[in-house]
Each structure stands twice: as structure tokens, then as C-alpha cells.
């Protein structure tokens, strides 16, 4: 289609290019890969905006990890991204939460990273019904409490305490991030999204997790076929 109204993305200024180089260096050092949306984030936010974003997301991630640990932090970031329609953040952070849960318990988390696309196709309320069902075991009561609160705050509930204010900051930071990541990663497939976890955390557990998750998927598929 001849899109005559198309915009040409503006080139980055030199401070923005410098900031982007620093960001990519940090991503490679931390995760071992580069996020596909970083350039768009810097372009959309501008140099000062990108600095402010770094401050906001840094404070949110630091606060979440300190309060909840890495697994629940990734659940929070994953659901914030999932609800904003970001495939990359939804899958990537749920994948990370799955790896951490598997590493700690040797068991699969009830919500797989591959559940993100179909959860995103449901209405918000329907998807929450399914999430409640998947986290029904009392082992996950605290996870569900936090996701419910995050959902309530996203819907406009007033913050009541410090925990709520931290969750609000996480929601605001991911709304900013997803403004740029959702358009760039809209068509990504689950298998193309990496676990957004430090490479040292991701390393050894990944193969064992994939084998266990794929075996579970095959078992579920075989059961579904036998019921046809």
C-alpha cells in the first residue's frame, strides 16, 4: 500500500546516540542480548526523557526486587506488559519467572510463557478469571494477591500504602516502555522472545526447563488429541 502519510523516523541526536550505545552495552553485559525497542524508546523519549525513564525503571525494578525478589518482580513486569499488549515483555518476563520457579523448585510454574498470546486475546476480565484458575493452588496465594492488586491499581484504584505506590510506579514505567516496545514487537512469536533475565541466572537452567516444559506441552497435546 502506498502510505503517503508515512513518517520517516527522525535520526537520533548525538547525546541520544551516546545514551543508546550505553544502554546497549548494559543490555549485552547484563542479558547477553539487546532489546529490540531501545532505539525507539530513546527516539520517542528524547535525551532527557530517556534519562528520566532510566531513573523510573531503575527505581521500580530495584524496589520490586528488594520487596518481592526476582521471581515476583518478573511476574509483575510480565503482567504489566501483557495487559499493555506487549508480546515481548509479557512473554519475556513470564519466561524469566518460569525459569526462576523451576530453578527453585524443580517444578513448572502454572502460567507458561506460551500462555501469554492467548491471554492477550481474552477480555481483561476473562483473562483474570483464567489467571485465578491457574494460580488456584494455595502455594500461589501471595502471587495472586499481588497480581490482583496490580490489576486493581491499573484499573484506577487509589494507592493505600507504600506497596501500592511501588506497584503504581511499576505500572507507569511499563506503560512508558510498552509505548515503544509494543509497536516494535507486535508480531513476535513466543519462540523468538528470550527470557528477560540476567545471563548468569538464565544459563544452566534453560535447557532443563525447556525439556520439562516441552514434555508437558506434548503431554497436554496428546491428551487433547485423545479426547477428539
Amino acid at each position: 500500500m502506498n502510505d503517503e502519510l508515512a513518517l520517516v523516523p527522525r535520526p537520533l541526536t548525538w547525546p541520544e546516540r551516546l545514551f543508546l550505545r550505553l544502554l546497549r552495552w548494559m543490555e549485552l553485559k547484563t542479558f547477553g542480548f539487546k532489546h529490540p525497542f531501545s532505539e525507539e524508546l530513546v527516539r520517542s523519549s528524547g535525551f532527557v526523557g530517556a534519562l528520566n525513564f532510566g531513573k523510573a525503571v531503575g527505581k521500580a525494578m530495584g524496589g520490586l526486587e528488594k520487596r518481592y525478589g526476582l521471581l515476583v518482580s518478573n511476574l509483575i513486569m510480565g503482567f504489566a506488559g501483557l495487559w499493555n499488549g506487549c508480546r515481548y515483555c509479557g512473554v519475556g518476563h513470564l519466561y524469566a519467572a518460569n525459569l526462576l520457579h523451576f530453578k527453585a523448585t524443580g517444578r513448572l510454574y502454572p502460567i507458561a510463557e506460551s500462555d501469554v498470546p492467548w491471554l492477550q486475546e481474552l477480555s481483561y476480565d476473562e483473562s483474570m478469571v483464567r489467571v485465578r484458575g491457574m494460580l488456584a493452588d494455595e502455594e500461589f496465594d501471595e502471587h495472586l494477591r499481588i497480581i490482583e492488586r496490580l490489576y486493581g491499581l491499573r484499573g484506577g484504584a487509589e494507592a493505600q500504602n507504600e506497596e501500592d505506590r511501588l506497584l503504581q510506579l511499576a505500572l507507569a514505567s511499563w506503560a512508558w516502555l510498552n509505548e515503544c516496545s509494543a509497536p516494535i514487537t507486535f508480531d513476535m512469536q513466543v519462540q523468538d522472545v528470550p527470557a528477560i533475565l540476567e545471563k548468569t541466572e538464565r544459563g544452566r537452567i534453560l535447557e532443563r526447563y525447556r525439556a520439562a516444559r516441552d514434555a508437558r506441552s506434548r503431554k497436554v497435546a496428546a491428551r487433547a488429541t485423545s479426547l477428539d
Binding site: 513518517l7 499493555n84 509479557g90 509505548e179
Partner: protein, 137 residues
């Protein structure tokens, strides 16, 4: 792919509601753009457009381009847009269209009340997101 539905409602003096439902195929772009242009021509004072995609079930890449062309038309006329969505996937689609059209006057919402509040304000979408994050930091 199943049939799509467009429904245009003009509310004088300054509002248009576009309901988009069903599955959007490759060929919708021209129809959507033409009907949008015609509707805006019939009400020159339009300042607010509500795009309700809660009934949207599926869409092709070319259909997305068509939505983007409409959004750019609205941006050029400085018309404030509210996208009304009911699923995260629709939220992502509306964000993609608004972002790629570089239209900061287009916001994405789950309720009519939120959309009305958006129409009553003058803050930009990204501008608002950035200000909120900064305030909470």
C-alpha cells in the same frame, strides 16, 4: 476471514464515533479511509473521534496500515482520538497505530469514562505517561 463491520455515528457539533468489529482483511483500508474522510467532510468542526474496537476479532497487517492511515488523517487535522479496547491485544494494536502515526493526541482506554476524561483534557499520551512516571519516581 469473516466479515468486518464499520459503523460511523456523527454527534454534532464536534464528535464522531467509529465502531469497528469483526475481522479486518487486506481490503478494508480504502473503505475505512474513504468513509472517514466523508464523515469528517460532513462535519467540518469535528474535534473528537472515538474509535471503538471492542468488537474487533482479527486483523491483517494491511488492515493495520489502513488504521494507521486514518490515524494520520486525524493527526493532520489535530483531532483528538480515544481508542476504546477490551483486550490486551487490541490495546497493543491501538498503541501501535497511535505510536506509528506519531499522534500524541491519541489515547487508548478500557472504559468510556476514561475516554471522556481524555477528551476533556489536553495532555498528550506519551507526555502523560512520562509525567506520571516522573511524578511517582
Amino acid at each position: 476471514m469473516a466479515q468486518h463491520r464499520f459503523h460511523f455515528t456523527t454527534t454534532p457539533p464536534d464528535r464522531v464515533t467509529i465502531e469497528i468489529g469483526g475481522a479486518l482483511g487486506d481490503l478494508i483500508a480504502e473503505e475505512l479511509t474513504t468513509r472517514t474522510v466523508d464523515t469528517l467532510a460532513n462535519q467540518a468542526g469535528t474535534r473528537l473521534v472515538l474509535i471503538d474496537i471492542r468488537g474487533l476479532t482479527d486483523f491483517t497487517v494491511m488492515a493495520r496500515v489502513g488504521l494507521g492511515t486514518c490515524q494520520k488523517l486525524l493527526r493532520r487535522r489535530q483531532i483528538r482520538t480515544a481508542w476504546l479496547v477490551s483486550t490486551p491485544r487490541q490495546h497493543g494494536l491501538a498503541t501501535l497505530v497511535a505510536h506509528n502515526a506519531a499522534d500524541d493526541g491519541a489515547g487508548v482506554f478500557q472504559t468510556l469514562a476514561q475516554a471522556e476524561a481524555w477528551f476533556a483534557s489536553s495532555e498528550g499520551r506519551l507526555e502523560g505517561i512520562m509525567a506520571r512516571a516522573k511524578r511517582l519516581t
